[in-house]
Symmetry: C2
Subunit: 333 residues, 2 copies
């Protein structure tokens, strides 16, 4: 690669800070600054806020426009929310300046699902100004959507996809343990789920991306969530869960196509969960199965997926992009 990619970080939560640590070690990238709404961060150096060893990374700005006035990044890593419409609003000034945005926003994995009008508008802006925007991660973004699509490239007559992911959340960060309902009464967790305030985001988007790649027209999507209850006391760094309280979630999403092809995705994320693993089964010729013992788990993988997507995204044409549009290579050919 002839020159490094100038990157700015939007959002300095745990994932955003970990992205900066990875970017700082990678000669493909040059960090030019960060954006965060926290007034305690604004004006400080990125190295200071994130504990980067060297004096790398410029300063934290209050807005992307403030940053752009000083530095013009080629790309932005956006880690600031799960909703497509909020994320699109935040990223609009970036794509209007021809910037390539990789976002951890779960709904951006397949934004056509929940925000088709805004996606169309963003796609037009991207094409007009040379911008790109992509949502990715490990889940959604890899295990239950990209992996089955990868497997389908060596199969014919695919009639069904079954994906199962089991995560032991005991060693994960606090926000993840919270979103899976740790310590809540089961009825309280169900209520939060119904109100859209708990559970795994982007699950329907995984199904939509799969259906899109397989060129299946799906009927209505069914999504369910049930709390996983503790049978004995469970203690982590952040939560103490009593027997009968929620220690995690069991969430499923499924749909059938107009030709009877089925997608069923099944996710368990819970504290003290035994036998974590990812598994994908294709009903196809030949029948195919793939297992990741232990599962692709942990925030390291999420951060790697975001950072590795940057040069891949820059190889695609401008527009709202999907993971299935990207070439595989991290670098240039």
């Amino acid at each position: 690669m002839s020159h490094s990619i100038k990157v700015a970080q939007f959002g300095l939560g745990p994932i955003g800070q970990n992205c900066l640590h990875l970017l700082a070690k990678d000669p493909r990238f040059e960090i030019v600054g960060a954006v965060d709404i926290n007034p305690q961060f604004v004006g400080q150096s990125v190295a200071e806020v994130c504990g980067l060893a060297e004096n790398l990374g410029g300063f934290v700005r209050a807005s992307f426009e403030d940053l752009w006035a000083v530095h013009q990044p080629d790309a932005v890593l956006h880690t600031a929310g799960s909703r497509a419409s909020t994320s699109f609003a935040q990223c609009r000034p970036m794509v209007e300046r021809g910037v390539a945005v990789v976002s951890s926003c779960e709904e951006l994995l397949f934004p056509w699902h929940r925000a088709p009008d805004e996606t169309r508008m963003m796609d037009e802006l991207c094409r007009r100004f040379g911008g790109r925007i992509l949502g990715t991660g490990v889940n959604p973004g890899f295990v239950l959507d990209v992996l089955p699509v990868v497997l389908s490239t060596v199969a014919c007559a695919v009639r069904g996809v079954q994906g199962t992911r089991v995560v032991n959340a005991s060693l994960r960060r606090q926000p993840l343990q919270k979103k899976i309902g740790s310590g809540l009464a089961p009825e309280e967790f169900r209520r939060l789920w119904r109100e859209g305030k708990a559970g795994h985001a982007g699950f329907q988007e995984s199904l939509c991306l799969l259906a899109h790649a397989l060129q299946w027209k799906m009927g209505a999507i069914t999504e369910n969530l049930e709390p996983v209850l503790a049978e004995r006391e469970v203690c982590t760094e952040f939560f103490h869960v009593q027997p009968g309280q929620t220690r995690g979630l069991h969430q499923t999403v499924s749909a059938v196509s107009d030709h009877g092809c089925r997608i069923h995705l099944d996710l368990t994320m819970a504290l003290d969960e035994e036998s974590p693993q990812d598994r994908v089964i294709l009903d196809s010729e030949p029948a195919l199965e793939m297992v990741v013992p232990g599962g692709v788990s942990g925030d390291r993988a999420t951060v790697a997926s975001l950072v590795n997507a940057l040069p891949r995204l820059l190889r695609t044409a401008p527009g709202v992009r999907l993971m299935t549009d990207l070439p595989l290579t991290v670098g240039e050919s």
Copy 2:
């Protein structure tokens, strides 16, 4: 997709005929003819030669030029050899007419390895005339090269790749049972291997594609082959192997990069082999492992990989393409 892709088949061996059967069932494609050197086939209808149920597929021609005079395919499936230079010579008239070629030729997985000058010339021709050429399959083309690259997209600090494939060849077609040395005396098989007349082709190319995608500069490649000997009599439809004779091969390929990163690939293909499976292990953060129980095996998967690569290849820019250049989607976005 607005209209179907016009495809011709080059080579009517078992794989080529199976490709035609799959193409015939897939509404994305229209078969316009085939090319084969067998004088018994030339002039006959493709449907007759290949046993296609319907009167699909035009006629068998003696050369691509003969076919082109009547039909102008968008794409060609090339299944007629393992050597890069021979395949390039066969495919040159295709790419000079702007055709996209997907080939099962093992060395075309990474033709820069054994035929750099011819690859450069073909790449120039492709770019000048709008042609494309890609080598793929299951092995090489998926299990020990594409899969580890896919896994690396969610990892950082990759320092090593280990890939293992175990195939039970008992139920495979005759040419495959032959190429793994079935029934030969071990010294005879070793001699054929040294003369380049036996063993798995394209193994070094898998390693090269991996190194390319990971942007590693590898030192010398070491490749070894040892016969797997029968301990008891083994009978298949095609071979009777006595104790002490060869029932298959154990082949390895490995190299170390200038920064100490390692690739080691390990392949066992043998009659009566127990516990077939594919396994990929990344030495990375996080450490990652992926297993395909039973392995991606059988000619159905190979044929599917070739056919599915066609629309993906057509989405790339003209040139000599690698599997890692392709977007994932089978169809258009």
